[in-house]
Symmetry: C2
């Protein structure tokens, strides 16, 4: 095949792929936000068919040689070689598994999810236990088809965060443990920060109005390129540069839940929005890894959204919206409260300081399950013991313990560690950003988009053009170093709890 | 091909068709309600590709003989024969036009729409005039491919309302004119009804809250099978029995605009929702004609929604929502106001009594344009003259005159008459319904769904299983008779304006 023929075939294939991906993405957003519940069976049957159409395009037997030719051809530019090689990797993954195995796995994974739901309802880990074991066996089998000599869990870690493995994460989490555990102990022994005023009644309509008329405009999330809706579990989805959707959840008794979930999800949205439009419709037009994506949402949520300058700009209008509830709460009290740290049993409710320990527990369990040093049997007890030892928390029941997360139910092992990694990436980016631009000045002056412009120029614009270590080098000028993250946490929580002298 | 082979091929084809139709429907709803505006180009390009995929399935050369075999086979049941014959008709229509002609028409029609928009902005009919002429010529050409000896405008009337032609509508509109024109003259000479209190300031948030917590629940439109969103131009869309979407538009200075548009659109939604689920995914699972669909929305909006019993149930809560604005307005005053008649220049703002004359003007113009007795040149003047003669209204400008409707811009001639026909169908259905069930009793007692049950049993459940005249026979027990409609209007407006003695 001539290069021109290969290019034509490739461009046509890529466009068709992007059309089905867009359709399935919109159908999924619709399903999760507004679609009437009783129509699910009808829609799901047809959505499955369309997913099959997409799968047929992805695994078109004629495309692999085309991708191979392009990725290996010195005559095409580097962007395109990277693009073709990522597609080649994805397509190889999909085509190496026999279709009947794939279908059987989907069934097992659906059954596992159902069992997880049932176990939660019954608050009984034993219902889920055999399925968890099943998912591990399934993943071993599926990764076996890849003809990759590496350990399966290493492959799974690499799946979500290319370039990482157990050696990498062992080192990462050891460093975290050494410095975070003693810090938490000091915080726990300090005078607790008053957060009671955040748990009053805040009418959802008013929360929503403030979010839509004050917060989203401040964040620069406008109807030209984005739309926010509501779902039980907030998420971000996108189809192209100028089509990013986020969701949030309002809770009457919790003022800050929807606020920080909004800042977080809009952080994901900014990443996608800022990717160079020349990658639109291709595999490069997406965040490069789970950790990198999470670094951007957490940077916005924690490193910007929980600071005094951010709230200098926004707190007056929040106070005006809830005069009864916030009249006697000063700006400083409010900012302290949204940063307060309390060890707890539930990951999604954890503060910035204790959060990485929740992740560490999950990483150690996943690692042990795959290398055989841990059994799925009575894993709930192991879980509870680890929470007691690491966080000093007594887990009340399985639902608030080992059954709290959905990730393992469909076999997504190796995903959790990227959450902690994202926070650490973010700290290093922030360090660099603060050397280059007047972040606080921009936040106070409602110029949030000027901060986003730094992220765009140094991180977002690349999409998946470079891998995460490559982007770290480009943006921070050096290799990844978790020290920035630990310095940040120590400085922040020492100041917050007046621990300076003791550190 | 054996019958079984034909059936298999047919079912597979029908399913694929329904999957693409569902996807395009959801993408379109998303586009019209929430999709970020700047993503339009990316989405539209891919949506066009998916529409092309659907078109390829619809016009699959292998399907016509299959459809022919099924529609003509005495061995298959009558439902399936009807289904296959409707598909056969649709497919024949699509396949008879050369693809390049189809594409050229789409371009011309897009350009015509753009010209219409520009003409509206400039308030200058001359900008649109050549395009209107062009659309007529295009339709003559496209219908020419059908190998149908009938007049083109007759074919277009039949397109939207199977079985109708100019002879049918001439007779229909003559009857309307004879009795409605003198009635309007009497109303115009009567003491006007006070409607000023409907034009106060009604905060949109409160309107929305009342609609979502009171009106939609009263109408039985719940999240199990429906969802209402907001758009500039309200519409209803659906994918299956349990997935019906409506939209409305809230105006601060107009309390009843969104209320009656909601009742109207939910009327369309009930029709689709109530179609027997055994037709789901097939061409039978849709209202049978434009007139029949409009009859159901107008029945709900006017024949139920503008009655005293309906408002006995709902007015107290509306008054409570707007105490300042409605405190001194009695239930009876409110109901009179929502039925008041004032001749006006704009169709979508017209009341129940003057509405059919707006349609009559459009019908006569379309008829004249196609039979050559009217020219598109200076048609705005003809338009204005007809409004003066028939409604006694002076049209202020082209935007509020001939440019007010979108329909002609893309060549949808023959659609307007179904609006008036729908109102007339509805009157006949109501007459029968009132003989069989205690409508007012149900409305007062918040049992709206009991009224919908009558419609389901007698009309909705059939979907497109029978044609409109067939459904009229089944539901009303006799042929269509516009007399019911005229009797209804005379009785209603005589009472409303205290004209009894003079009628």
């Amino acid at each position: 095949m001539t290069l021109q023929e290969a290019l034509n075939q490739y461009n046509d294939w890529k466009f068709r792929l992007s059309a089905y991906e867009m359709a399935l993405s919109i159908i999924n957003i619709d399903r999760l936000t507004v679609a009437p519940s009783d129509g699910a069976a009808y829609r799901d049957e047809r959505t499955a068919f369309l997913s099959g159409e997409l799968f047929s395009i992805q695994t078109d037997p004629q495309i692999l040689p085309v991708l191979k030719q392009l990725k290996d051809s010195p005559a095409v530019d580097a962007d395109l070689r990277r693009e073709a090689s990522l597609y080649f990797k994805e397509t190889t993954k999909l085509t190496c598994i026999p279709k009947e195995e794939f279908v059987a796995f989907r069934k097992a994974s659906d059954a596992s999810y159902d069992a997880w739901m049932e176990a939660r309802e019954k608050n009984d880990y034993a219902v889920f236990e055999p399925h968890l074991l099943g998912m591990i066996e399934w993943q071993k089998k599926l990764f076996g088809y890849r003809n990759d000599s590496r350990d399966v869990y290493d492959q799974m870690l690499d799946e979500y965060e290319p370039g990482t493995d157990r050696v990498f994460y062992d080192s990462f989490f050891t460093k975290l443990r050494e410095r975070i555990v003693p810090l938490i102990q000091k915080v726990v022994q300090s005078e607790p920060i008053d957060t009671s005023f955040l748990k009053q009644s805040f009418p959802v309509e008013l929360q929503k109005k403030w979010t839509e008329t004050v917060l989203l405009p401040y964040l620069g999330f406008d109807r030209g390129w984005g739309y926010q809706n509501e779902t039980e579990h907030p998420f971000t989805s996108w189809t192209c540069e100028n089509d990013c959707r986020t969701t949030t959840r309002y809770e009457e008794q919790n003022l800050i839940s929807s606020i920080f979930s909004t800042i977080h999800e809009v952080g994901h949205a900014w990443y996608e929005h800022n990717i160079s439009s020349r990658y639109d419709g291709s595999i490069l037009s997406s965040g490069v890894s789970s950790g990198m994506h999470e670094s951007q949402s957490r940077l916005c949520e924690n490193y910007l959204g929980r600071t005094l300058p951010f709230w200098k700009a926004l707190y007056p209008s929040l106070q005006e919206t809830f005069p009864e509830q916030l009249r006697s709460v000063s700006l400083e009290q409010f900012v302290r409260a949204v940063n307060a740290s309390f060890p707890s049993a539930v990951r999604t409710e954890a503060d910035e300081l204790t959060y990485p320990l929740h992740i560490m527990i999950r990483y150690e369990i996943e690692r042990g399950l795959f290398d055989g040093t841990l059994s799925a049997e009575h894993l709930d007890e192991t879980w509870n013991r680890m929470y007691r030892e690491l966080l000093g928390v007594e887990v009340k029941n399985a639902k608030e313990g080992i059954l709290q997360d959905v990730h393992w139910s469909d076999g997504s092992f190796g995903y959790f560690p990227t959450y902690a990694l994202g926070s650490a990436f973010a700290a290093q980016f922030m360090h660099k950003m603060r050397q280059e631009i007047a972040v606080d000045h921009f936040l106070e002056r409602r110029e949030y988009t000027s901060v986003m412009a730094w992220l765009r120029k140094n991180i977002h614009t690349y999409g998946a053009r470079y891998d995460a270590p490559g982007i770290m080098k480009l943006a921070a000028g050096e290799e990844f170093d978790p020290g920035y993250y630990l310095d940040y946490l120590e400085t922040k929580y020492s100041r917050l709890y007046y621990l300076e002298s003791s550190v």
